[in-house]
Symmetry: C3
Subunit: 186 residues, 3 copies
């Protein structure tokens, strides 16, 4: 096969995939999403049922993910140096980065200091807002809301709303009858 014949076949393959995604779901996505679908990547990673994870999510090492978890594009889930555990019905919004290691001291010392590490756990029914960051050693509870663009470097108890750089607790979550959610800000 000539290079030109190959190019024609490949371009058609990708264009057909894009057309199909647009026709069925009205979505036009980064081209990697046409290669590995987010509902196929999740079981490949051993995630629970009804979980999806975009192609543009970097997943390193020991990462355990439950059921009904949505993991957006441009995310990073690091279980390379320690364990990362994510519960059920969690939303890891687009651009979220979760770290179990920290190489800051290593780099500023020109490689003299070691990397640091610590397990991270995210509870059930918790939302990590868009582009928030979780640093190593942190546990976030159940039914928590982490505000967009927050930097979480301390533990966050159940039913907390936390936000800021670094994140502080700014409110609480209450679940009322019939699916109503009350958010109170302190």
């Amino acid at each position: 096969m000539t290079d030109k014949e190959f190019a024609v076949l490949f371009d058609k393959y990708m264009s057909d995939k894009r057309d199909e995604m647009k026709a069925r779901f009205n979505r036009v996505l980064p081209s990697g999403e046409y290669i590995f679908n987010r509902f196929e990547k999740a079981p490949y990673l051993g995630c629970g049922k009804n979980t999806s994870i975009y192609d543009t999510s970097v997943v390193l090492g020991d990462v355990e993910i439950g059921d009904n978890v949505w993991i957006g594009p441009y995310t990073l889930l690091d279980g390379f140096n320690a364990k990362l555990r994510i519960g059920n019905y969690v939303s890891i919004d687009s651009g979220v980065m979760i770290y179990t290691h920290d190489t800051t001291r290593m780099y500023v010392s020109g490689g003299m200091a070691p990397a640091e590490a610590g397990d991270v756990t995210i509870g059930n029914c918790t939302v990590l807002g868009t582009m928030s960051i979780v640093s190593c050693g942190v546990t976030i509870g159940n039914h928590c809301i982490i505000g967009a663009q927050s930097y979480v470097n301390t533990d966050i108890p159940d039913y907390s709303i936390a936000a800021g750089i670094p994140a502080k607790i700014i409110g609480k979550v209450e679940l009322l009858d019939e699916g109503e959610v009350r958010l109170t800000y302190y």
Copy 2:
């Protein structure tokens, strides 16, 4: 064709595309950009003339984009649950995420509460700074500057400079003679 013959042809295809981009534009890009060019993706989406949109932009649902719009890499344009309208001569800087829906209450309630939604409109000659976020239901006017890493959850009137998490109006834009732009900070 053997797997090995396929690999040789594919590797050459991608390497040639990369070499061509580097030689012509002195750019080395995420490999998806070699598959779908940003000046081809824009008309595919029905955008206006002279608009470009990187391959690594996630575009969902009902999104309408005008002329001379620049849409950077790692962006997200959500028109899935409501309409997203972007005017002419707009800069959607790298990493910007615009939402017409919000599933926060849905996730913290374990699926009991519904998702929220609302149209978003971005006016003409407006800049959304790098990694800023626009949340559902917001209208941003013409000739506005949204600071990098801002979170916009309220309407922003014409000629405003807004920044912060959440974004507040911190200044104004004035257009003087001969293309001069005066930015005043309060």
Copy 3:
């Protein structure tokens, strides 16, 4: 070759690459990483030894990168309008965006005002934290730490810790004996 035969070969090619990465390194990555490896992209860009740069890093124009530099996913290195220089043993964390140009005034004026530009230099043994931004004309010294999600628009001297939007100096770095690093916050 039929479209279907092509699809089978391509799917196997990508799946084999993914399986190999998972088996050898326990990593599941954006599919572009299987096409251009980060340790191959760095020499392609003329970087120094032991440097790696993810496929999902946008590299524009005149960018010079030293030895032992780690450049994460979803980054942007802009040397399109002016020079970008990055020293040795630098960590460009995930999502970092470095600009040598600024088109804000150009866009708000509907194309009347020109783009601005200025060289950027990053010293040795410096860490740019996750999703931080460096704007045009800035010099960051040696042994500096830039906090995650910071916006750096002024020069930062050696041994500084800087953070915030915009970034201010909030502490200092001291290198003690035997690789110990002391971080003092003011």
